[in-house]
Symmetry: C2
Subunit: 349 residues, 2 copies
């Protein structure tokens, strides 16, 4: 399966399937004088004798957020330069969303930008590898330093997902679910039916592809997030605050944020757009810790949400809510109203 981006220029292809990595990579590397591989250390350990046996002399990045520090940034760029990287070389970044963000930022800045390919290896990275955002973390928050730098291709070999720990699968599934909500009610229903006995990989491919297409729709019409790209933040405003406070995997926190989004959307519209009982049951069945929402502190959450880089006002908090499945809108909820919504949600649990 190949999906082509729809920008005005600098388009690229997203290849999604099982067992495509090696052939696909070689199609691209042929036109470069040399290739540098940046590989997540856990992925390297799991696949160095298998899927990645063709990878020579990789630069190994610590898996996860550790690769998104300033020190790691220095290490990656200096190592690329030590190895003599030139403008006609290619960088291939293999790993989860964190590796993709860090490796992408290094590729974007070394020699003022060289070509790179994203090879996402987690379910969540179906999301993070699309859209050209690269980043490292600040002590003041995640992803606060970075640039936009489109890859030359994304090669998403779903074989990698087979070794994902269950909590990483659930975390990635949070974004798959979000993309279904952003699409339409039919997609949400089909996804819930397909996963009624639990989240497993077998049935995931069509939903991953649909998720990628949905994300691409938003990012191609608004790369720099001045307009509708914001809608991709569905569930993320409270989600980020919960992720930060409880050190919960990103996509799991997003599911909790989506549940609050459903609650608030119903309240603002004064009608039941979302059947809260149904979704609550579904999320709990799959192991998302919705009960955590019952323990959050209103004031603390509101402070954390105020720090979100997308929030520019202090008295009100910007939220993406829904008029209906597939129909987002952006609104500012003022502090007292927001506090009320959070309290009501807590009571309802």
């Amino acid at each position: 399966m190949e999906i082509r981006t729809g920008y005005a220029d600098y388009n690229y292809t997203i290849h999604v399937d099982y067992g495509i990595l090696k052939d696909c990579i070689f199609r691209y590397t042929a036109s470069y004088n040399s290739v540098h591989f940046l590989v997540d250390q856990n992925v390297h350990a799991l696949y160095k004798d298998g899927l990645l046996s063709f990878v020579q002399n990789p630069i190994i990045l610590e898996g996860g957020e550790a690769s998104k520090s300033f020190d790691a940034f220095k290490h990656i760029t200096e190592t690329l330069l030590e190895r003599g990287i030139q403008r006609n070389h290619l960088v291939v970044v293999i790993g989860g969303g964190a590796t993709g963000d860090a490796g992408g930022f290094a590729a974007a800045t070394v020699l003022r930008g060289v070509d790179y390919i994203q090879v996402p290896t987690t379910l969540l990275a179906h999301d993070s590898s699309i859209g050209g955002k690269t980043a490292i973390n600040s002590t003041h928050g995640k992803n606060l330093i970075g640039v936009f730098h489109r890859p030359k291709a994304v090669i998403y070999d779903l074989t990698f997902l087979e070794t994902l720990p269950q909590h990483e699968l659930l975390s990635g599934f949070g974004e798959v679910f979000k993309h279904a909500l952003l699409k339409d009610e039919k997609t949400v229903k089909r996804l819930m039916d397909a996963t009624s006995n639990g989240v497993s990989l077998d049935m995931m491919k069509p939903f991953i592809i649909s998720g990628i297409e949905t994300k691409m729709h938003y990012v191609t019409s608004d790369e720099k997030e001045s307009g509708i790209r914001k809608y991709l933040n569905l569930g993320h405003t409270l989600g980020h605050a919960i992720e930060y406070k409880y050190k919960m995997p990103h996509g799991m926190a997003v599911v909790l944020g989506l549940y609050f989004m459903m609650f608030a959307s119903n309240e603002e519209a004064d009608r039941n757009i979302f059947d809260l009982d149904l979704f609550r049951q579904y999320f709990e069945l799959h192991g998302y810790p919705l009960e955590q929402l019952g323990t959050i502190d209103e004031a603390e959450m509101m402070t954390l949400m105020g720090k979100d880089k997308k929030n520019q006002s202090t008295d009100a908090t910007g939220f993406v809510l829904m008029h209906d499945f597939g129909q987002c809108y952006f609104t500012e909820i003022d502090s007292s109203q927001l506090k009320k919504y959070i309290s009501q949600l807590k009571e309802s649990l």
Copy 2:
């Protein structure tokens, strides 16, 4: 004097004159929610009670290359974030080329890019502040990490130049001279006449403006240096090697590189495009250490030039030479030929 860039989009104005800073800045800041000033420490010390007395609570950067380290990059971005920078804030970078490069890179990456204004304070920065290149240094070479990020404006208040030490003036003048060569013979003659009694600021304004216009011509037609932007490297290939080896100010080394360029252009064309005696006398009169060229080691220079990030071949070295004043071409000179040119030049001195 205002010069407008000629890109397809994201154009900006370069304001050049005496005493324009404050009024000009306020014209821009009005449309931002807040402004953050990054100021070179030497410039701050000299002007905090004068030209910069309106600047509140600046972030002070070490002057010179010290501000282009990874540590300084971390310090600048983290300080901006600590001060609560938001996407609708403006960064104003005040200082020489080094401060401009470092501050520009911070503005380009914090929150994935915020608007910024360059306020160059050295003669050399008439060059470095135009073109949108930002950078920090690697242990493997200067300017190896960075991005392209166009400013919203360049405000070049020539009053700052009055406190420049003589060697910095001479260094900046090297690039003024290069821009005259890139323009035409008439401009070179006028510049040489105007400076026949030494380089001073009084007569510099028209040549600075002409230099900016010349640089802009090259960068707007080729922002990412795949074609004619390369011509701006006139004199820089050997210049960079000399700068590195002898720790000479950039523009002074460039003058030595320009002299070699003239020599090699004559040789390659087999005619006297440039009157070498005339230029040698002129450069020596102004204090450029041409005698250093007599002591360079061929092999060492060739190794250093091979490391230049613009050189992608190993057996030959890419050079910008001239068919005539204002008429550049790019050529690769193979190793044995290059060695011969350097030896001949040494003997001629």
